[in-house]
């Protein structure tokens, strides 16, 4: 009989560690399993203002989290998409909304094709009017809107912007209430089985020994177990994604929080602005070959819209992916498994997918190599997809005003992305792999917004007469306008059900 995995050890706290521990505590429980998390307060976590994408709902639903409580406790705001400023060229802006572009036009092809025809015949080229989330974001409105019963209008898609440190703390409370055990301490040594190489225990600085059947490495960039012990290797992607530094600083809130994240292209990278309930998270992601850390810090502080609330904090990283995210009885989750800059808010999603896949592929104590192989393969596909999407933002641009942007514009890109860009520029077709994380609307919004304007569109879009086309497009635009008109302001919505308590605000 095979032996079940009973004792699971999570090495490292932070967002990844506590997301893993909370999910394990919920799913496996602590009756037949032990769930132990080892973290050290000496080692800081990378937690900064963090933006997410809609699939985070699946994780929160798995935990059975009450949304209002969660929003309150993490000082969260709602997010309908990302505003990109100065990315195509200085002075330009576009919006990457969650949600669906337009609506079906009867008997036809995708809305995008009709819209492209409409624009070619003189229509307004701002596609944002045709995505409810985009319109709502532009006006600072938000509410939870389910799909209409007749199926005519879809639900409003959203995610959250929250304080990563309070999110981790919230999940820690959740996990500990369900019997997960936290050990404070630094890991100084790892014991492996001399025959199998499996990890049997980690030793802490104070001499304690924490043993387990399965280890989850959430130790961050350095990959204490996955790299330190198993030498899993690292695919360096910095030739495509040269950014290797970020400087982060929170500032005072100066206006009602926007229901979107803002990303502004800068001379040697980009600056994020993530509004939370109590303050605003800011950061400058850049490449140190083009800009020094001091200079980046100075520029960031200069460009804040409120008073800085802390000293700027520098983060150092290399874009890329751990070659194997799962080796023997060790699974890397979070930064230990790879790093992609937070341009499309995918960090938490990559953590979440690793955790969900662990459940899908949950092993016995002797881990079947088939599970490992499949897991690693599926994660590779996901990482490559997100990587390509992010590279697209840098490659497709008119900017060449600094050496940094000249490099990005002229760099070679992965073949997978090149093929995609070619088809898109030919006919706006974005359908590639149905299982992709970023779908048609996302690719369209970003590539179009970055300045890649399709030469043509699906011929069937010509089947409508000019009048029918005008009527159909106007009808969809009006329907979206009406949906958005019913929404309250984002600030009022938060106030009505999920405003942070003063205690949490102070934290």
């Amino acid at each position: 009989m095979m032996q079940q995995v009973k004792d699971i050890v999570v090495v490292g706290g932070g967002t990844a560690g506590w997301m893993a521990a909370a999910a394990l505590a919920k799913v496996l429980g602590t009756q037949a399993h032990t769930i132990t998390l080892v973290e050290s307060e000496e080692i800081g976590t990378v937690g900064v203002g963090e933006a997410t994408i809609p699939p985070i709902m699946q994780y929160n639903n798995l935990l059975g989290i009450d949304e209002d409580e969660f929003v309150r406790e993490t000082n969260a705001t709602f997010k309908l998409g990302i505003e990109f400023i100065d990315w195509r060229n200085k002075g330009s802006s576009y919006f990457h909304p969650f949600g669906v572009f337009g609506a079906n036009i009867k008997g036809g092809v995708g809305f995008m094709n009709y819209w492209l025809r409409w624009v070619q015949s003189g229509g307004d080229p701002d596609y944002r009017h045709f995505i409810a989330e985009g319109v709502a974001a532009g006006e600072g409105r938000f509410a939870r809107v389910p799909a209409s019963p007749d199926g005519q209008s879809p639900r409003l898609n959203y995610a959250y912007q929250f304080d990563a440190a309070t999110y981790a703390a919230y999940l820690r409370r959740y996990a500990e209430r369900r019997g997960a055990v936290r050990h404070e301490g630094r890991v100084v040594d790892v014991e492996q089985n001399s025959e199998t190489g499996y990890i049997e225990a980690v030793k802490l600085a104070d001499g304690r020994r924490v043993s387990g059947d399965f280890f989850i490495d959430c130790s961050g960039f350095r990959g204490l177990l996955i790299e330190g012990v198993f030498k899993a290797g690292f695919d360096d992607w910095s030739h495509w994604l040269p950014n290797n530094r970020a400087v982060a600083v929170p500032c005072e809130r100066v206006e009602d929080p926007t229901p979107f994240t803002r990303s502004t292209a800068r001379e040697s990278g980009w600056q994020w602005r993530i509004p939370l309930q109590h303050r605003t998270g800011n950061g400058y992601v850049f490449c140190d070959s083009y800009l020094s850390e001091d200079e980046a810090s100075r520029l960031l502080l200069e460009r804040l819209d409120g008073k800085a609330l802390a000293d700027p904090k520098i983060l150092r990283f290399t874009a890329g992916k751990r070659r194997l995210g799962w080796v023997k009885n060790c699974l890397a989750v979070g930064l230990s498994s790879g790093f992609l800059e937070p341009l499309e808010s995918t960090s938490i999603h990559l953590i979440q997918i690793a955790i969900m896949k662990l459940f899908e592929f949950f092993p016995q104590r002797d881990v079947n190599p088939v599970l490992i192989d499949l897991y690693n393969r599926e994660m590779d596909v996901l990482y490559d997809h997100v990587r390509d999407f992010i590279i697209g933002h840098y490659k497709v641009t008119d900017r060449d005003d600094t050496p940094y942007w000249q490099y990005c514009r002229n760099m070679t890109i992965p073949d997978s992305l090149r093929a995609k860009l070619e088809l898109f520029s030919d006919r706006g077709e974005t359908r590639w792999m149905p299982s992709d994380l970023f779908g048609e609307t996302s690719w369209f919004a970003v590539l179009y917004g970055q300045g890649l304007i399709p030469r043509s569109y699906h011929p069937v879009a010509n089947a409508l007469s000019e009048d029918e086309l005008q009527l159909a497009v106007a009808g969809i635009r009006t329907a979206i306008r009406r949906r958005v008109d019913t929404l309250p302001s984002h600030a009022d919505f938060i106030e009505s059900c999920c405003a942070a308590r003063p205690a949490a605000t102070a934290a």
Binding site: L28, E360, D373, A419, R427, S456, H458, P459, N462, A463
Partner: protein
């Protein structure tokens, strides 16, 4: 200014050609694109049947075909699945039912509960938890709307000649021009078909040619780079025999696929007759020997002539070259083991419609089309190879070889993960979904060693209650379904009279 596609010519015969023409008529002809069919001689024999999956309903909806016509004019019988027998010496037959419930939330489906239950001594077979399989066994038609996570649909057994004629009639009535001809010559320049010369000397030109000519691949077979890649190493049958037998009464709600020493036989019930197919390996046996054994294998006497033909199990290395697009079994062909033949046609047409070319001089869509069709083909091939791989007919050289031979790596991954954990990693462009693969694997006796740990979070009493509830729900739903004969009798035949009157 670039030149747009204005003239499309479909070259082919039978259902694939008329399906393509009907779909083109419905979608692109509204945009001013002309559609013409060059109708080649039929490849069908009177005994032929199409056995189709429930997804064909989506195609019928798309082209505006009233399904009552199928039951009035095409001898159609609705079937809830396929029953596989004699694939193992020891285990009983199983039914691959056409369950169509959406995938379970967060990947935790009933199958995981069943696996744990099985390990704890649950004796009820997997197929009893399939609404479609239970309906099939009860001879009933799953035509009801879905209830919670229970949903099944029916596929179709169709008289191939009558179905093709119906599609032809409806398409011609819609205004598609058609010419019956054979091809005398095809002029190709580079990767473009310049003209197709017909037997009467007419030279046909088009911006886009759709090859729906079946395995003869009248156009694509001549295009550069579109040679055949054989899959016979995995799928050994290379001959197929088709015949007819008497009709069954009452009509069953499933088709029957039985393995025999050198291949398999299929019984496809139709109204008034039963189509009988045998697929086998010519290295193992002769046409005459199979014909002699057929009455015994089918357990029915054969009426009229049987027809034998070569069976190609292969894919074109490219399905879209220049201005020539292959659909259905011009692009790839497989034995009719899992009833996907028309679905392949439908899928190819859908992809072609999505990627319908913008310009008549360059076809950047071709590469993506090729990639999609290859994925589709590989996934379906793997599904069919799994039947052979998982057979338990020991001490018969043909079947021993099938079981011992390595399978494609893409299938091995599915087999391995299922054996380890009861999950099936799906690829893009799968015809069959996880529930189909589960039914196939478990039906052939592949039992997972382990299950999703989230099942352990369900208390045992609740687990038992859920299992019981599902059994009861299925029995209740099936009781409300009509027997096949009643279902057919209830079909409205007024439309059919109109079609017949119009000729």
């Amino acid at each position: 200014m670039t030149r747009r596609v204005q003239q499309v010519v479909v070259v082919g015969a039978d259902a694939p050609a008329w399906m393509a023409a009907a779909a083109l008529l419905r979608s692109v002809s509204g945009a001013g694109i002309r559609v013409r069919v060059i109708e080649l001689p039929t490849l069908l024999h009177p005994a032929d049947a199409y056995s189709a999956l429930p997804e064909l309903a989506g195609f019928h909806h798309r082209i505006g075909l009233d399904e009552d016509l199928l039951f009035s004019l095409c001898k159609a019988v609705p079937v809830a699945g396929r029953r596989f027998s004699n694939w193992s010496g020891a285990t009983p037959p199983f039914i691959h039912g056409y369950d169509r419930a959406p995938p379970p939330a967060a990947g935790l489906g009933f199958t995981q509960l069943w696996i744990k239950g099985r390990q704890r001594g649950l004796r009820t077979d997997f197929e009893n938890f399939s609404l479609a399989s239970v309906a099939a066994k009860a001879g009933r038609v799953p035509a009801a709307p879905k209830v919670a996570d229970l949903h099944a649909a029916f596929g179709y057994n169709l008289d191939a000649g009558a179905y093709s004629a119906l599609l032809r009639h409806l398409t011609m009535r819609g205004g598609v021009e058609s010419t019956a001809a054979t091809i005398a010559d095809v002029e190709i320049e580079g990767d473009r078909v310049v003209t197709v010369t017909l037997d009467d000397g007419e030279r046909v030109e088009a911006d886009l040619f759709v090859d729906a000519s079946g395995p003869r691949a009248a156009l694509i077979g001549r295009m550069p780079g579109a040679d055949l890649e054989s899959w016979r190493g995995w799928l050994p049958c290379d001959r197929v025999l088709v015949a007819s037998a008497r009709g069954l009464k009452p009509l069953p709600a499933f088709s029957q696929i039985s393995a025999f020493r050198h291949g398999w036989t299929g019984l496809f019930p139709l109204q008034g007759r039963t189509a009988v197919i045998a697929a086998y390996d010519s290295r193992e046996t002769s046409d005459q020997a199979v014909l002699d054994d057929l009455p015994a294998l089918a357990n029915m006497s054969i009426a009229g002539d049987a027809v034998v033909s070569d069976l190609s199990q292969a894919i074109r290395r490219r399905a879209w070259v220049g201005n020539c697009v292959a659909i259905g079994d011009s692009a790839f062909s497989l034995e009719p083991l899992d009833g996907a033949q028309l679905h392949i046609v439908h899928y190819c047409i859908s992809q072609l419609m999505t990627l319908f070319p913008v310009e008549a001089d360059a076809f950047p869509e071709a590469e993506l089309y090729d990639r999609i069709i290859r994925r589709l083909a590989v996934n379906l091939r793997d599904f069919q190879v799994a039947h052979y791989k998982l057979n338990r007919r020991f001490d018969m050289p043909f079947w021993d070889r099938c079981r011992d031979a390595p399978v494609p790596e893409t299938l091995q991954r599915k087999l391995d993960l299922f054996a380890a954990r009861g999950r099936v990693p799906l690829n893009d462009d799968e015809i069959f979904q996880e529930q189909d693969w589960e039914s196939l694997f478990i039906g052939h006796g592949l039992m997972p060693q382990s299950y999703d740990p989230r099942v352990d979070a369900i208390p045992e009493q609740e687990h038992i209650a859920q299992v019981q509830a599902r059994l009861n729900d299925i029995v209740g739903l099936v009781e409300g379904m009509a027997p096949v004969d009643d279902f057919i009798a209830g079909v409205n035949s007024e439309q059919a009279a109109d079609v017949k009157a119009l000729g």
